[in-house]
Symmetry: C2
C-alpha cells in the first residue's frame, strides 16, 4: 500500500525557466542563504535542494508550480520552517519559500476579517488585529516565525483550541496555487457559502501536498474585557477532567485554556529554567493552568472565583493561586510553555503528540505509564498538554543518570506501544503537529485502507504527477 | 462544461438484489408510502422512483450502495425531506431514506459529544443533549423533521451560526458509506487530529454526492445561565451593522443571534399571522432581533442593558424592548420566524438565500432594491436574515394587487440581477440552502473553471460511475 515517490527530475532547462519567471531577487542557489531553510529548528532534519524559489506574488507562485508540473519536478513548500515533523524540509525537491509573500492585503473590522499573504507571520497578524481592537485567537510558542501559510497547511493548534478551534475553524477563505499551476481564488470572507465542496477544507492540513496556499482570509474576534488565570493543584487527571467539565458549565464556554501538567514537569522547570518559582506552597501530583476570558469587565474573575471555591469545597482542587497582575499571569504561563524546553538538560526523550477523547485521558495516562515503565524501568514520564482538547504531549525521558543511547535505542518500541494504545482508545497519533515526512509511515499502520485509498484518489485527482511535497502524507 | 448525467439504468435484477439485502420491512414500492417522500414540502418539486430503500443499519446502506455501484444505478439519499432546493427528490433514481437509521449511539458529557445516526431528528438531538445539561447549538424552523444526516450533508445554518458556526463546525466525526459501497469509519470524537486530509469536511455540504452519511459525532456545548432578547428599531442596515460590531465587542462574542428585518416584513406578520403584535410603539424602517447569552447568571442581561443604553445614547438605536419573560422572548422570535410564512398570502415572490461580506450588506440592499424596482415597478421588497453572517433572505413580492403570473414570469430575470450583484460584492448565491437540483446550473455561471474542475475531479475520484445524486452539484 506504499505510494510511489517519484525521484525529482531536475534539468538545467527547468532551472533556467524558473529563474526567468522569478526574476532578479526571486530565487537563490547560494548555500549560505539556503542553509537555514534546510535545517529543521530542532536539528532533527537536514535537507538538500537544487534551487530556492522566492516568489513575491501569487502569479509567480503559479508560474513556478506550472513549470515544475510540466516538467514533473517535485516541490516542497516552506513557511516559517517551524514544523516538527520534517514536512517543510526538501530532500532534493525544489524549495518554494513563501517569505516574500508578506503583505497584509486587508483588515476589515465590520467583516471581522484579515486577509494576509502566506508569508505573514502569526505575530504580525496578532499585531495588525490588535491595532483595530481585534484578536486572532491562535497562539503558538513559535508565532514570531510561524507563517499564515504554514499554520493553515498544517492546521496548527495551540493553546486556544478549546474555545476557538484549530486553524481550520479560523479560515474564511483561501487563495492557492493548485498542483497544475492554476490559481484558485477562494478568498471569500463569507460566514455562509453552500455552493459545492468546500475546497479550502482540503487544503487546510494538507501539508503542502495539494497546492501552495498563497493568501488567507482569517476570522477575527473581539478583544476580551476580563481575563483570569489560575494555577491549580489537583490529585489526578480524572479530577482535572471533572474540573474541566465544571469549568465549561460554570462559564458557559468562556474557558480559553485548560492545561494539564504532571509534577515532574514542574520540577524540571524549577531545576532547568532560570527564574521559575513553584506557584503553590505544597507539592501536588498534577496541576492545571486554567484561563477564563469574558467580554464583560470582571466576569472572568468572578467565574474563576466561583469555580475555585466549588473545587476547594468538594476537594477536587487541592490548592490554587490566581494571577493578580499581568506579570503574574505571564509567570504562570511560562511554567506551562517551558515544559518542553525544561526537559532538554534531562537527556534522551521519546516524544509523542497524541490525542484521545477527553473522557479517556486518565485511562491513557495510566496505561501508557504502566507500559513504559515495563519496557524502560526507571523512565521519567513528563506528560502535559491541552487536556481540554484531549491532546497530551506524552514524553518519556531516560532514567535519572541513565544512558541516552540505551534509551534512544528503545524509542521506536516505546512509541509503537504508545501509538497502539492511543488508537485503541479512539485517539490520534498526531494531534496537532501533522504527519510530515516523519509520521506518515507510522500513520499508515493505523489508517483503514478505505481512508487511505480515498485520500490517494483525491490527491491523484488534483496532482496527477504527484509533484507537491511527494514524501509527505499518503 | 456541463457534466454527464447518466440515465439510471434499472433492472429487475437490481431490484431483487436490493430487496434481498434489505429484507422484510427494509424497502417499499407502495405508492402511498412513497408519496410524501417524493413531494418537496413547499410543493415545488415532485419526484419519481422505482424503489425506496429503508436500511436499518450502516451495513445495509453499504450493501444497497454496493449493489447500485456495481450496476451503475443512481441513488438519491433523503433525510427529513426539508430541503429547499430539490436535492433530496429523486427523478428516477433509487431513493435511499435514512429514516430507520434512528439510534442515538452515545452521549458523553465529558467528551461533550453525541453520536447519532443519520435519521435522528435535530429536535431529538436537542432533547437528548438537554437531558444531560448540554446543548447542540444548531436550530432550524424545521428541526422536528430535519435529520442529522441531512443537516450535515447540506451544511445547514440557522439562527446560531454567528456564535457556533454552520453544521460543519459542529461535527467531530462521521461515518459514511462511500459511492463504491465501502464504509468509512471516521466516527472520531477528537478535537485535534492532524493525520491527513480531513475527509469529513468533503462529505459535509456535499449534498449526498460523495456518499451517504450514516452517523455523526456532534459537538455539545454547555447550557447558558443567562439570556437576553431585545427587539430594536433602527434607521438603516448601516446602523444595524455598526450595532453588530458594537454588540460583539460589548459581549466579547456572546452574541447568539443578530437578525435584521425590514418594516414591510413586520407589516406582513401583523397582517397575516394571527396574534402578532408590534413590539414597538412607533414604526421604524428596520429592526434587529438581538440575543445575547452567557454562562454567568445576569451577565447577558447586563450586557444587553449596556448595549441598548449606548445605542439609544448616540442614536444608532431608535427604540427597543427587552423580553422580560420566556413567553415575551418567544413572541419576539416568532416575528422573525414568521417572516417567510407571513409572505404567503401576499402573492408571487422571487426568493433569494444569499450572503455578502457583512460590510457589504447595506450596499447590497440599496443596489438590489434599486434594480428590482426598475424591472418590477411597485414590487414589494421583504429583506430579512442573519445579518451577523451577512446572510440575507432577499424576497421580491409582486406589487400590491398586481398579477402573480406577470411577476413570476420575470423571476429569472430578477434573480439573475440579484445573483450578479451578490457575486460582484464577493458574496454567495446560496448561503445556507445549498445548490441541490435547483441552483446548480446557476452556480456554474459564477464558479471559476478552476474550481469546478477541481470539484469534478474529486467527485470522479470518489464516485467513478457518478451514481450518487447525479443531478446535484457539478
Amino acid at each position: 500500500m506504499t505510494a510511489p515517490v517519484p525521484a525529482p527530475r531536475m534539468s538545467g532547462d527547468v532551472i533556467s525557466r524558473l529563474k526567468a519567471v522569478l526574476g532578479e531577487g526571486g530565487w537563490s542557489q547560494d548555500p549560505a542563504k539556503l542553509a537555514p531553510k534546510l535545517l529543521e529548528w530542532r536539528d532533527r532534519w537536514t535537507g538538500t535542494t537544487p534551487f530556492l524559489a522566492l516568489p513575491k506574488t501569487t502569479e509567480q507562485v503559479a508560474a513556478v508550480v506550472g513549470v515544475c508540473f510540466e516538467a514533473g519536478v517535485a516541490i516542497t513548500p516552506q513557511g516559517g520552517n517551524t514544523g516538527l515533523v520534517g514536512g517543510q524540509i526538501p530532500q532534493g525537491e525544489i524549495l518554494l519559500s513563501t517569505e516574500r509573500l508578506n503583505a497584509i492585503r486587508d483588515l476589515d473590522a465590520f467583516d471581522d476579517v484579515i486577509v494576509a499573504e502566506a508569508g505573514v507571520t502569526l505575530a504580525e497578524v496578532h499585531e495588525a488585529a490588535a491595532a483595530q481592537r481585534r484578536r486572532f485567537p491562535l497562539g503558538l510558542a513559535s508565532e514570531g516565525s510561524a507563517t499564515v501559510g504554514g499554520v493553515i497547511s498544517t492546521n496548527a493548534g495551540g493553546t486556544q483550541v478549546l474555545r476557538y478551534g484549530m486553524a481550520r475553524s479560523l479560515v474564511l477563505g483561501l487563495e492557492a496555487v493548485l498542483p497544475t499551476g492554476e490559481v484558485w481564488n477562494g478568498l471569500k470572507r463569507l460566514r455562509k457559502d453552500n455552493t459545492g465542496y468546500d475546497l479550502k477544507q482540503l487544503l487546510i492540513g494538507a501539508e503542502g501536498t495539494l497546492g501552495v496556499v498563497t493568501a488567507a482570509a482569517l476570522k477575527l474576534y473581539p478583544q476580551m474585557a476580563s481575563r483570569a488565570v489560575a494555577f491549580i493543584g489537583v490529585g489526578s487527571p480524572e479530577d482535572a477532567i471533572r474540573l474541566l467539565a465544571r469549568a465549561k458549565e460554570e462559564t458557559g464556554g468562556d474557558v480559553e485554556a485548560f492545561e494539564l501538567m504532571g509534577r515532574l514537569g514542574i520540577e524540571f522547570a524549577l531545576r532547568n529554567i532560570a527564574g521559575t518559582r513553584d506557584p503553590l506552597a505544597e507539592r501536588h501530583p498534577w496541576y492545571v493552568l486554567a484561563e477564563f476570558a469574558s467580554g464583560e469587565a470582571g466576569s472572568a474573575q468572578s467565574a474563576m472565583e466561583r469555580f475555585l471555591a466549588s473545587g476547594l469545597g468538594d476537594g477536587l482542587i487541592r490548592d490554587a493561586v490566581v494571577a493578580q497582575t499581568e506579570a503574574q499571569a505571564k509567570a504562570l504561563w511560562a511554567i506551562r510553555e517551558n515544559q518542553s524546553p525544561a526537559q532538554k538538560p534531562e537527556g534522551a526523550t521519546w516524544k509523542h503528540d497524541v490525542s484521545v477523547p477527553v473522557s479517556q485521558v486518565a485511562t491513557f495516562l495510566d496505561r501508557a505509564t504502566a507500559a513504559m515503565l515495563q519496557i524502560a524501568p526507571g523512565a521519567r514520564i513528563a506528560a502535559f498538554g491541552h487536556v481540554g482538547d484531549g491532546n497530551i504531549h506524552y514524553d518519556v525521558l531516560r532514567p535519572d543518570g541513565g544512558s541516552d543511547a540505551e534509551h534512544s535505542a528503545k524509542r521506536d518500541e516505546g512509541s509503537r506501544i504508545v501509538h497502539d494504545l492511543v488508537v485503541s482508545l479512539g485517539g490520534s497519533i498526531s494531534a496537532e503537529h501533522g504527519l510530515g515526512a516523519m509520521k506518515t509511515a507510522e500513520a499508515l499502520r493505523y489508517k483503514s485502507p478505505v481512508e487511505v485509498q480515498a485520500m490517494r484518489a483525491i490527491r491523484l485527482a488534483l496532482d496527477p504527477k504527484r509533484i507537491m511535497n511527494p514524501r509527505v502524507l499518503f
